[in-house]
Subunit: 405 residues, 2 copies
């Protein structure tokens, strides 16, 4: 019998317990052994709940129990999760976690310890919830050089952008609605400022390159400056605004960033709405591929954690390998990355066209009948640096949003 401990009995932890119970029979068939949750660690009490009898408050009960071979860390946050996971691995236990903050910061260290101890450190649920993107990078995209990976990796902001698109509402209105519905937290900063998506693209880029990508190095712009006015122009262009986390190959490195992007209807991510997540991948041999699913939620995320647990159980005492060295990857400088920008300027096209031409040369104007007293245009392909230089020559810029196909 394989015995498991779950650290944290919040949304995901209770989901993991539920998945292991509801699907016990098929999971045990796949593992070829019985599986039992021996402990749940939480500071709180849960009187009357099904885990009442297996609840512990001291992590050492788990770390010192040689019968526990798999630890599920679903507490979130960097500490004490980091200490607990590290000690579990050092104690000869394998770990599955959904904790993106932990993985983004300590992924290289923890996977190295797991390797040394012939244990596994897996974290499928840390990016894209139930979407098996990490397993795909590690085992399915291995014949390819990945030229681009772009994802809608945050369900909260995708829900908000979808609502703004469908109802023309302003950012603040939609944020309040998302908070009321439980899709956004009381302090929504990590989601709406793009910090959550940033950690996730850092993890994906680390796995693509096998080196450490520090999330602090990734240019990150959230959705807080997107207005109903931007959405009107997006619609006039037949496009949608999505918060994308992208990493594109540039020479020997990757150019990573998080920002709102105007996507056309032929882009596979265009149709990904609501709280769903999706990851678009371009391989140099594979071409375009996309993975779509629930990016959050108790059971979808728990499903990914349990898939890691099953993998660990099928490989007990063996390290499930992937490359993630502590050697730091120097990300490519975004200032030279090329794209088109959509720009909104105060003043009519007649009033501004001379100034715009002087700043940006050839541009394509966007007709939007609903937008009075302003004009919008799309630049040619230029670098981020050129854009900044040209934009400095133009007065009255209300917003600018990057474009993709």
């Amino acid at each position: 019998m394989i015995q498991v401990a779950i650290l944290g009995y919040g949304t995901i932890g209770s989901g993991v317990y539920e998945v292991l119970n509801i699907n016990k029979q098929v999971i045990e068939k796949r593992i070829g052994d019985e599986i039992r949750v021996k402990y749940v660690l939480d500071l709180r009490e849960f009187p009357g709940s099904p885990i009442e009898d297996i609840l512990v408050h001291d992590v050492n009960t788990i770390l010192e129990d040689p019968e526990v071979s798999v630890v599920v860390e679903v507490m979130g946050g960097v500490e004490p999760a980091h200490t607990f996971v590290k000690n579990a691995l050092l104690a000869g236990k394998s770990v599955a976690t959904s904790n993106k903050a932990l993985v983004a910061k300590y992924g290289a260290e923890l996977s190295e310890i797991a390797k040394q101890k012939n244990q596994s450190f897996l974290f499928e649920a840390s990016v894209g919830g139930g979407i098996p993107i990490i397993r795909s990078i590690n085992t399915a995209l291995t014949g390819d050089v990945v030229e681009e990976i772009s994802g809608i990796l945050n369900g909260t902001t995708n829900y908000m952008m979808t609502e703004m698109t469908n109802h023309g509402s302003e950012f603040e209105v939609v944020l309040k609605d998302a908070q009321k519905k439980g899709y956004a937290e009381a302090d929504p900063t990590a989601d709406i400022e793009g910090h959550d998506a940033c950690r996730k693209i850092a993890i994906l880029t680390s796995l693509l390159t096998g080196q450490q990508v520090d999330f602090e190095d990734i240019y990150t712009e959230g959705i807080t400056k997107i207005t109903a006015g931007d959405i009107k122009f997006a619609k006039a262009m037949g496009r949608k605004i999505k918060l994308l986390a992208t990493s594109k190959k540039q020479g020997d490195s990757y150019c990573a960033m998080v920002s709102p992007v105007l996507l056309g209807s032929s882009h596979p991510l265009y149709h990904v709405d609501g709280v769903f997540n999706a990851v678009f991948v371009v391989g140099n041999m594979l071409g375009d591929a996309m993975f779509y699913g629930s990016g959050a939620g108790s059971l979808p995320t728990a499903s990914a954690v349990v898939a890691d647990v099953v993998d660990i159980c099928k490989n007990l005492g063996k390290n499930i390998p992937y490359e993630w060295s502590a050697e730091k990857l120097s990300l490519a400088d975004i200032s030279s990355s090329q794209k088109s920008f959509f720009v909104r300027v105060e003043g009519s096209r007649e009033e501004k066209s001379e100034e715009i031409a002087a700043a940006f040369g050839n541009v394509e104007y966007v007709t939007c009948d609903e937008a009075a007293g302003e004009c919008g245009f799309i630049t040619e392909l230029i670098s981020e640096k050129e854009f900044e230089e040209n934009a400095a020559k133009l007065s009255g810029i209300k917003n600018r949003i990057r474009m993709d196909q």
Copy 2:
């Protein structure tokens, strides 16, 4: 150094050779060893080609060479592929194949031999080309009971349905165009009659259940009866007709079928156009997920074959496990499966409504201005059996197409 032999130097075989060459550096880094193609087997000669010096005509040269540890079978067809693959496994070599006909018929036997010999038998490319759906079933959906798997698994027919939708053309016209462009073969039977998709859903259903699903048991209906008239009605409903291969859980078994289906725009497969493939999965914990990518083509398919080769190289001398016993699965009887049907009947609504009500009870009429002298309606949710019984009471049925969300 790991030495590989490729059986068959056709579209996929030459692609595998190309992927291994172009991406040699990253592949060797991932494997942690050098990799070399020692032989290519083909009956033909390829004078002046890069494989001229490693071409052999006798499979025994490969089978008897102890230096060859990985065999790539990309010849297609059941024989002699089956004999060659079986003998390669018996000789202690691992095999990666893209051959759906081989896998559908002999998957259980070959995976059992591989297990006994501590070798691996992998076939990611046999379903969905470059889409890692098989690896996902075996390693990512392992915490779930899969309630439904539905796929656009044949690029030729999806291209044809897309062309019929975009241009309103008739079936025969689009087929000729697809043949001219190389998307359909001179004898297109296997594609347009659904036989290709049928073998693929048989493979997926086998892996979901761990038992043998005989493709001959799966109800299969191709796209040959779809007309421009059907497309007009589909458009009037805001739907698209897609050839779907589906397997839905029913009790302890699955109900599998291949047929054209009318999909609404909220279905994730609705947007999958052209030669692309996609697989939609519903897990009881995961919820909805979708995998999208190139379902065919030399390099995307070769990319999936090479991912299998990399997996094999990382696990040399070990069996990469999945369940596929020879025990036959009794598929659920489709006659009790419930769905709505769209029906086209000769005669106006005024002329036919009484007869339709007598046969089907409550129906929803579809208004289609372009269709003169006929009418179309959607039934309530009924079983296949009820549909047949009711349809027998109604004269002048021109076509009937199943519906999904």
